[in-house]
Point group: D2
Chain length 358, copies 4
């Protein structure tokens, strides 16, 4: 069991007589699914003051009715200068192209940025051009964000980079689940690198975004399961980059709102016993408040929905060396807004759990 | 128990050596939810040949992929002359304004029409103008459809009119459930006409139509219930017209795809016993293959989904005279396409169940 | 907007050098749906220490796997003496008969009790005997709980009684929604008391409890809506007691897990305008952090699920005097565990929101 | 497009003056999910008379309320002698042990049997003993069913054996989907037999059976996805037997009622082009009314629910040789009762589609 849930800031800056001055944080992209979760979390974060919430759209200020009594401010049109003025840290939940335009200006102005788009996740320019052709990161210009200023924000696996980064590229929802399951085994050399790595993910419909389409119509999803994005989903190269190998990744839409369950099929190296697997996970996540290692008690979405947890389980068939990993999380929290706040906490030296009780 | 499910046409016309010549039927509006059900039912109807399926839209022929191997034809752009040429009976599942434009021309050309829109349901011009302002039925012109040529197609309650009508105005999904429950009691004088009549309906999301909107987004509906249309839903005057009184009608969207369950709150006249209520329903629906009178075994949507049944139940509190009626049906079948086929069967003298086994 | 979300205890007792000593709280009935929510909330409550979690059942200690990292203690078999020893306040989420046996002993031992069962809600013995025949409250014995020591825990409407009560009878989920909507209008004399009061409620399946039955099987509920308990649900007299009149109450199961939406049909007194209705609600809930008065923006379950909010809306048809009220809440939070914690906060002088951010 | 949907029996036996005498069929296990579908289908089958419906259980006759007006008979207690007397063909939807006891007696009495249990699917005694330890097929006794009298009823792939078999072992729901996708490619030598074969299946909850358990509780399934049966599900050896190789099979419960979508990960042999794959499927299912080959238009459950179709699609990554197959069906129809009726049609020489329009 982790120690007490009492949470306090441990960063020195801003302390006046023992009371922390809240950090000013702005959200851009506040009306999408992830954006609203950001507003909800940051409005109640003990060490943060949510100073502005902006959104692209028709330009009229609007309220977030569901957040009445939680955050009663107005969402205003996205505008870079006012955003820079209003915050020390900006959290972006914008479309890729908007993020590509906004983030460099913020970094250049000395703001720290946590970006939930895919724009800054892939390190190689060729990969970016292929998978994010519309996201011009201004790489040739004065406002380019230097590669070394960017951290890939898979919190539990990149804390050191996150602490010092100017821009944190928050991972995709699918890569978060897949990599929290795979990285420890891969790092320990327990996986047979010659065998195929198959990642079959099942996602709730909120993962498809807020735009009403034929695909997101209730009658299309209810009572339905559909595979999509075979051999062409942008999260496959993101997973592959972290693992240094190609993977077969197939996401599916399942009829629920929030949550991802990912089933991963691999083979272990000879001699990789159940005990070694268990020890590897236990060591990897001993100090991780939001990763719950459940072993043979396979995780299920219902235990992680509406939380920032990622739960991990597995079964190893010792005779054949086949291993099946199961990871699950809430795509809007640990897969998006929750991990963003967790990264903000790490970046600012707060307790990693601050503001994430819910 | 009803007699055998063997089905055969009993209309003389068209018989050649004992084998019926199928009636040519066209569907206009074949790509919406109700339209696709019409195609599915008519493609397998034993006494019908589906000659054409048309739709408004972008003008490109398209296939109904889900109906592969059931009906493999192409849906073509809506066009009145080809529709007239192709059919003896046209079934329209069009927007109100389109139906208003198409139906009179079909009737004028001697075709029988079954119209699923609301355009022809309300008898009084003032009511039509208020509730269907966009549906110009050409009432002043040569192609007007005479009121006496129109039947309100609540099958079990209007068979005589349906047999002879040129245009059958298929009832709304909500009115079908409400009126099948209420009309027998009202006709028998069992309801206290001074007491409020409250109709609280719960509908699956397919009832909101196929257009992707914020309201029909999966994430808006899943885990949600929402009331809508209070004091302003067009099905309230439709119910009121049949009953000759005003009603309080509130529909709700519930997170399922197909089905309506309607709970009706009324008071009975003094002396209206449980036995009289039961006898009234039994008599009303003795010969109705698709109305199942279930009494105290309250009906539930799961028993009627994907069928053409309307199930009815009730509870009477004898001491107080309060009665609660529960009616349910599949909004796309008994509430739309199924009842349309049932009406087609009645209009053409077929067995009422023909083509409606599923 | 309510003031700051900073929360601090304002009860003097227990302060040592400015730091509050947490109040020791025990939960009995920790493995049911409401019980697990209690554990989740109390484990993170800033002014409380959850000292024990007990449950009836097979007697073996067990863990609440879904709450791993939130509360990692063991749930132990229910036993009165250890419960008395472990806590200053006991929260009971037990079956009625168990609550009837346990609560008086706790009160007699000087513990404050918040009881989520129905045992202590009805004031009249005849009503209790009718609706809770199995719940012997020991009324004839030494351990009886005096009526004046019991408060009906509808927080926003009974704060004064809750502050001083020894036993708080937490309201039922349905009555909470219905009464928060109805009591202000009734108290203001705005309702026509001669007209029928119809309460049509739609509840998620968690409201049916954790026992696996035919009724709670997924395949029974998915795609289904079912009315139940007509004229025989125990929440009807609970609502009636608070309003001083009889009501027609029909609950329905709808295919979602958490949440209740209640639609209420009434008539207002002549002269009861929209403005008076709005002013009445605004005044009633001006200082209520968990009741959101939404007026014509009718509330929906998705905005209250996983929160302690109760949202209220209405539509008044001025011409006819008919009014429709809509109330919704999360049945496990504001309808059970959340309101229990809210009552605990009121009873102990804490900020009413403490521990209820999520 | 397949030819006309007109369906007529082509078996000579039983014809009297051109009218077929219906075949007498009995159902044992009529109250489970699959059993009720059997009753529904057989009650309306044009060439069959459903003579009896039996069930294990408490011994009291009961009605199938949801089938009112479709089949109004009583379900009576299971009893072998009356079953033998009542039917020419018996369809069994019984628990494994019951099927093992009943089927041999029926075969011995000259009845043809279609068995939906797993008892008769595995050919090797050692496999049966391991996976079905409780199902004693009486193999040592007089009533043993000879192996050569048993056909594995994967209709489209075993029509010849089905025509002559005395006992048809209806395949499991998961194997039906997996094998209809895999067998044609395997038979054509297109699969790389050295690569792992990963079968990730997503099933609706009706697949878990009708018994109310913690696992099938609505609140356990709603908003949830769960993997189960890793390395220990009985359908894995069933699939492996048909393919002659081991497979990795992981089923998941997803929050819908009816339907399975199976995603299969394999590698093709060098030179196995998209065209060869497409041609192979087209040839395999050219004459199959219930298999719809959809190619790159990946199938989805909503298109097959409430039908007897199995839809197949795939994507081949030519560069790497990885192929992903997607198959889906309704687990209670093509995965159980529908395929049983299809097998009955084949066994008796009827049109394969008879009674399966819905």
């Amino acid at each position: 069991m982790l120690s007490s849930v009492n949470i306090s800031p441990n960063h020195a800056a801003g302390n006046v007589d023992g009371a922390a001055v809240p950090v000013r944080v702005g959200v851009a992209g506040a009306t999408g699914f992830a954006g609203r979760e950001l507003v909800r979390l940051l409005a109640r974060h003990p060490f943060v003051r949510l100073t502005t919430a902006m959104a692209t759209g028709d330009g009229r200020p609007r309220r977030l009715d569901g957040l009445l009594h939680i955050w009663d401010g107005e969402v205003v049109p996205l505008s870079i200068e006012p955003l820079i003025e209003s915050c020390e840290v900006a959290v972006l939940a914008l479309p890729d192209a908007s993020a590509a335009a906004v983030a460099p200006a913020l970094v250049h102005a000395g703001r720290r940025v946590i970006d939930l788009s895919g724009t800054f996740r892939l390190r190689q320019a060729a990969e970016r051009a292929r998978w994010y052709p519309d996201a011009d990161r201004g790489e040739a210009g004065d406002h380019a964000v230097a590669a070394e200023a960017i951290a890939y924000g898979l919190t539990e696996r990149r804390r050191d980079q996150i602490r010092t980064a100017r821009l944190i590229a928050n991972p995709g929802c699918y890569p978060t689940a897949a990599l929290l399951a795979l990285e420890p085994l891969a790092a320990a050399g327990l996986l047979d690198t010659r065998a195929d790595l198959v990642i079959d993910a099942k996602s709730g419909v909120s993962g498809a975004g807020q735009a009403p389409t034929d695909r997101t119509h209730f009658s299309s999803c209810h009572g339905n399961v559909a595979a999509y994005g075979l051999f062409e989903h942008r999260h496959a190269p993101e997973i592959g980059q972290a693992l240094g190998r190609s993977v077969t990744f197939v996401p599916h839409l399942v009829p629920l709102d929030r949550g991802i369950l990912t089933t991963i099929y691999a083979r272990v190296q000879p001699g990789a016993t159940e005990t070694r697997v268990a020890d590897t996970y236990a060591a990897a996540y001993a100090a991780a408040p939001f990763v719950r290692v459940r072993g043979e008690a396979l995780p299920e979405i219902r235990d992680v929905a509406h939380t920032n947890f990622c739960d991990l389980g597995w079964r190893l068939d010792a005779a054949s060396g086949r291993i099946v990993l199961v990871a699950c999380l809430d795509n809007l929290l640990k897969g998006a807004a929750g991990q963003a706040v967790q990264n903000l906490n790490v970046a600012l030296g707060f307790d990693e759990r601050a503001g994430l009780a819910s």
